[in-house]
C-alpha cells in the first residue's frame, strides 16, 4: 500500500477515526462537547478537563449497518477512564440493549482507570464490563478496535477481551498490566519497558494475532479498520457464552500457560508455534503475517 494514501489510525484523534470509519456523514454524536460536562474530579484537582471527557459516543452507519460507537481519545490523559467518560460508554452500551443495533464498535485507546478519579474510575470500568456482557447477551456484537498510541491496558485490556472480537493493527497493543507498571513492580530484569521492540513483541498486534487474541489484523490505516470491521461483521453470529464454552476457553488458556509460561519474549513463543524464522516476524507486513499464520500447524 502506498504510504501517501494512508490515514494512520495510530496518529489520528478519536474524532478523525470515527469520521473515516463510518459511512461519510452518518455519524451523530450523543452528548456533544457543547452540552457535555467536563470531569468535576479533574477540576477539583486543579487540572483542565476536556469537554467530552476523552470519549466520543454516538450512532452511525458502517457499510449501511446501523451501529453505535464509542471512541476513546488517547491524547487526553492517556484515554483513561474517569467517571463521566465511563458513564458515557455505559449509557451507550445500555442503549444498544434497548435499540439492538447491528453492532457496537468500541474504539479503545486507553491505559485503563484514570487514577485521578480513583474509585469512581474503577467503578466505571466494572460497569463497562457488565454493560459489554449485557449487550452481547442481548445479541448485539461488541467489536473492539485497538490501534491507538495508548493501546488497551489495565481495565480496558480486560474490557477488550470481554468484547465479541478484537480488530487490531500491528501498532496496537493489548495486555493487562502496562510495560512500565511491570517494570516498576517486578524490576527491569523481569521486563524492560524502554525496550520498545520487546514491548511490541509481547503486547503488539502481530503477537496478539498469532496467539488468536484478536480476530483480525489490519494495516495502520483508518480505511483498513473500516474494511476489517465490515468483513468481520459480514459473517459474525453473536453467540452468548455458555458455561461449557467458558470452560473450554479456560482450558485453552491453561494449556497456553503451560506451553509458553516460561517464555521471556514473543520470539520464543513464535519459535514454539513452529515459525522457522521468528526474528523475521516484526519485518513482515500485515498480509505476509496473515499468510504465515494460515500456514502454521494448528
Amino acid at each position: 500500500m502506498s504510504l501517501s494514501i494512508r490515514h494512520s489510525w495510530f496518529e489520528a484523534t478519536a474524532r478523525q477515526r470515527l469520521a473515516g470509519l463510518l459511512d461519510p456523514g452518518s455519524f451523530c454524536e450523543f452528548l456533544p462537547p457543547a452540552v457535555a460536562q467536563p470531569s468535576p474530579h479533574l477540576a477539583q484537582l486543579d487540572l483542565p478537563g476536556a469537554f467530552d471527557d476523552g470519549v466520543v459516543v454516538g450512532a452511525g452507519q458502517l457499510g449501511s449497518r446501523q451501529v453505535l460507537v464509542a471512541a476513546q481519545e488517547g491524547q487526553f490523559m492517556g484515554g483513561a477512564v474517569g467517571e463521566i467518560h465511563g458513564a458515557k460508554i455505559v449509557g451507550l452500551l445500555r442503549r444498544a440493549v434497548a435499540e439492538r443495533p447491528a453492532a457496537v464498535l468500541f474504539l479503545i485507546d486507553s491505559g485503563g482507570v484514570r487514577l485521578h478519579e480513583a474509585n469512581a474510575g474503577l467503578i466505571a470500568i466494572s460497569e463497562i464490563m457488565r454493560a459489554v456482557l449485557d449487550a452481547r447477551a442481548a445479541g448485539v456484537p461488541v467489536v473492539a478496535l485497538v490501534g491507538g498510541s495508548c493501546g488497551a491496558f489495565g481495565g480496558m485490556g480486560i474490557v477488550a477481551k470481554l468484547c465479541s472480537a478484537v480488530v487490531m493493527s500491528e501498532e496496537g497493543r493489548l495486555a493487562l498490566s502496562g510495560p512500565e507498571v511491570i517494570e516498576t513492580v517486578a524490576g527491569v530484569e523481569e521486563f524492560d519497558a524502554k525496550d520498545r521492540a520487546l514491548v511490541w513483541r509481547v503486547t503488539g498486534g502481530k503477537h496478539r494475532y498469532l496467539m488468536d487474541d484478536c480476530a483480525a489484523l489490519v494495516d495502520d490505516d483508518i480505511a483498513a479498520f473500516r474494511r476489517g470491521s465490515i468483513e468481520l461483521l459480514d459473517d459474525w453470529q453473536e453467540t452468548p457464552d455458555t458455561l461449557a464454552r467458558l470452560r473450554a476457553k479456560q482450558a485453552r488458556l491453561q494449556g497456553r500457560l503451560s506451553a509458553y509460561g516460561r517464555c521471556r519474549d514473543g520470539l520464543e513463543i513464535w519459535a514454539a508455534l513452529g515459525i522457522s524464522e521468528p526474528e523475521r516476524v516484526p519485518l513482515l507486513d500485515c498480509d505476509e503475517l496473515i499468510a504465515l499464520k494460515e500456514g502454521l500447524p494448528t
Partner: protein, 104 residues
C-alpha cells in the same frame, strides 16, 4: 490551573452555526469550542489552562485573533495543556474555519 476570561470587540461574524470543536487537551495542545454568543460585536473567550502566569500572553494572542478576524457574536471556550502561542493561533484559525464551514 488558571481560569481566564476575556471580551474583545470584533467585527460581526456573518452567520451563527452549530458548535465546532477542534484540537485535543493533550501535552502542548489544546481544544477549542466555538459557539454562537450573545453580543454580535463581541467575542467572548474563556480559557482553562494548566500553565499559570501567562495571562498577558493569552490576552495578546487572543486580542490579535479577535482584531484580525471577524469573530463578533461568538463565544469561545478553551481547555489548554500548555500549548505555545503559535499552536494556540493555529488552532484558533482551524476552529474558526470549522465553525464557518458548519454555517454553510
Amino acid at each position: 490551573m488558571e481560569k481566564l476570561e476575556f471580551k474583545f470587540p470584533s467585527q460581526a461574524l456573518l452567520a451563527a452555526a452549530p458548535p465546532a470543536l477542534c484540537g485535543v487537551v493533550g501535552s502542548g495542545n489544546l481544544e477549542i469550542l466555538v459557539r454562537s454568543g450573545v453580543d454580535r460585536q463581541i467575542c467572548e473567550i474563556s480559557v482553562n489552562t494548566s500553565a499559570r502566569g501567562f495571562g498577558e500572553t493569552w490576552r495578546a494572542v487572543l486580542a490579535t485573533f479577535a482584531a484580525s478576524q471577524a469573530v463578533g457574536g461568538t463565544s469561545i471556550a478553551i481547555n489548554d495543556m500548555g500549548a505555545t502561542p503559535a499552536v494556540v493561533s493555529l488552532r484558533l484559525a482551524q476552529a474558526l474555519a470549522d465553525y464557518r464551514g458548519g454555517a454553510q
